[in-house]
Amino acid sequence: MVTAVRDTGARAYRDGTGTFHPSARRIESGRAIAGERTVAVDACVVGSGAGGAVAARELAEGGMRVAMLEEGEWWDTDDFNARPREMVPRLYRDGGQVATVGTPPIILPLGRGVGGTTMVNSGTCFRTPAAVLERWRRELGLDELTEAELDPFFRRVERELNVTQVPPDLAGRNAEVVRRGVEMLGWSGDYIYRNVRGCVGSGVCAFGCPTAAKQHVGITYVPRAWAAGATTYTGARAHAIELRGDRARAVVASTTAGGWLRVECEHVVVACGAVHTPLLLRRSGVRAPRLGRNLAIHPATAVRALFDEEIDMWRGVPQSYYVDEFAEQGIMLEGAAGPPDQIAMSLPGHGTRLRELMLRYRSMSQFGVMVADSSRGEVRSLLGRPLIRYDLNQRDADLFKRGLERVAEIYWAAGAREVVLPVPALPRLRAGDSGPLREASIRPEDLELMAFHPLGTAAAGRDPRRSVVDAKGRVHGLEGIHVADASALPSSPGVNPQITIMALSTRLAFGLLGAPPPSHEPEPDHIPRPRAGRAAGGPRTLAAAGGG
């Protein structure tokens, strides 16, 4: 029964009131745990990002005693200074230097701290496209994961995070020029739905929102979990899950102070992300053949364009507009604006060429191309650290080429003077001529890429021989161990996955509590349905790619 309709318009986007504050911040720092400590709870949640924070809150509110382990620290909003150069080393794992090994090497910017990557992402919210769910059902036997089944869980997440649409006047000039080009071409695009409350367009979502407008899970779900009695242990790195027979018994973690924390529990919810979850499970004795394999990363790159008008990319919401005209082919285009240091870091070239571009920063636009990859990689441990192996295949390189061509078309239609490609070997495009790009043969090694959505390394599926967890997130063959992060997604949803992860985590928690779906949650007055999905996740069959 739907009891209400929730406003997703400009008023709800701008309203910054109503922040929830618990009576106490239940954080215990690993800096203060130098010896050995044992705590006993019902559920231990490893990780406090999109999957972990959500599971912790739901389980705690459902009556379980919950401990959350987080390797990073708690960051106060006062720590966020709107300067990417200062924030990247603090908020990103390994100082922002996590990278794949392969062709080409690809940087994976992952958040580290309470809130995980939600603290440093762009706040874009899309439900899992229906076509992707259908494919998971058809090819992997995930019959339970239908739109109707997931709807109440999505509604709950969207209400909690206030998922609302960016108003045009906060979208920034970067979005405006792209929207202008898209409308000239008659293509499909719209302003993005985001998890915000009272956004004023500070322009630095990826470096810690200084207004606390972005509703990352560290300031939404985690405080609710505290209010329900959960405790977050920061500076606590999970080493292994102890088993008794085939049942989880405890999680053992090392602390920043050099101590050990042992959390005895009946349920373990693993949510360390697609890079670390498979390593923790392997250290704990999980031997599923597909564990750590099937890594998809949803690779991305960016095109820049120079205009005669001022853009000032730092004004407005950096990722405020999307173009889904080619999403059925696996190509999603999304805004990628930012302050000058962020842009300089990712611009190709150096010296005079870089300087000349940067001096035109105020009239520069940048837009991203994301590809739902059919390439697959794997994560394994080397000397105690993750080794992320991933080679982009030619099919995905071809999709990137197509995406770059489409963004160039948009920019020409919008009146750009020059277009700068993320392919160092290609010249800058001028005078509306995309010929050099069109005629080029682009190999994977020619591209400069990043990837923001690693997933699939503990993929869900019905067949234990070809998957790691079942449709409810339970590790096959073991009792009490569950996965609630992106590693359980069998393939790229073709859109930003954060609320897919959160909805599945909510469902997992309700399942553990034996509670019925939250059908009372209000219906949003609009749900964006991008065309993504039919080809998303690319390989001819997911099972063949190792996803099932």
Binding site: T17, T77, A82, G95, A344, G351, L354, R362
Partner: protein
């Protein structure tokens, strides 16, 4: 972790080559880029940090194998720039690109450089603080 004097000299030379200051952009030595680069290194895992220091030495000694022959820090600015081109295309190419990306971030994140390009984070943070105080946000 602190860079040695020689490593710091290499960083200064690389910054000059990467940034090629002119047209109102300050020389790297007049910014806090080198100090920021060193701070960034401190946050990296030991292995990455060691790798980047090796790259600094590779950049310094690499020109000994080419023409004109000499350490990076002894080359003229024009030859340094030409060498950084070769460095990025050489066997350590992608790693070298990573090093260069950090140097770009270090330089363009300087407050004076950002202001020159129109960005001042001060008012952004001040507005944010006022909003948070007024509305009881986190």
């Amino acid at each position: 972790m602190k860079l040695s004097r020689r490593e710091s000299e290499v960083v200064d030379c690389l910054l000059d080559a990467v940034v090629a200051p002119a047209d109102d952009l300050p020389r790297p030595r007049r910014t806090d880029a080198a100090a920021a680069f060193e701070r960034m290194l401190r946050h990296l895992p030991t292995l990455n940090r060691a790798g980047l220091r090796c790259l600094l030495w590779a950049a310094e000694l690499g020109p000994l194998l080419g023409r004109p022959r000499g350490r990076l820090t002894r080359l003229t600015p024009a030859w340094r720039a030409a060498y950084v081109d070769r460095f990025e295309r050489g066997p350590a190419g992608r790693a070298a690109e990573g090093l260069v990306a950090l140097l770009k971030l270090a330089y363009y994140g300087d407050a004076g450089v950002m202001a020159r390009l129109g960005y001042d984070p001060g008012p952004v943070v001040a507005r944010a603080r006022a909003l948070r105080a007024a509305e009881g946000r986190w």
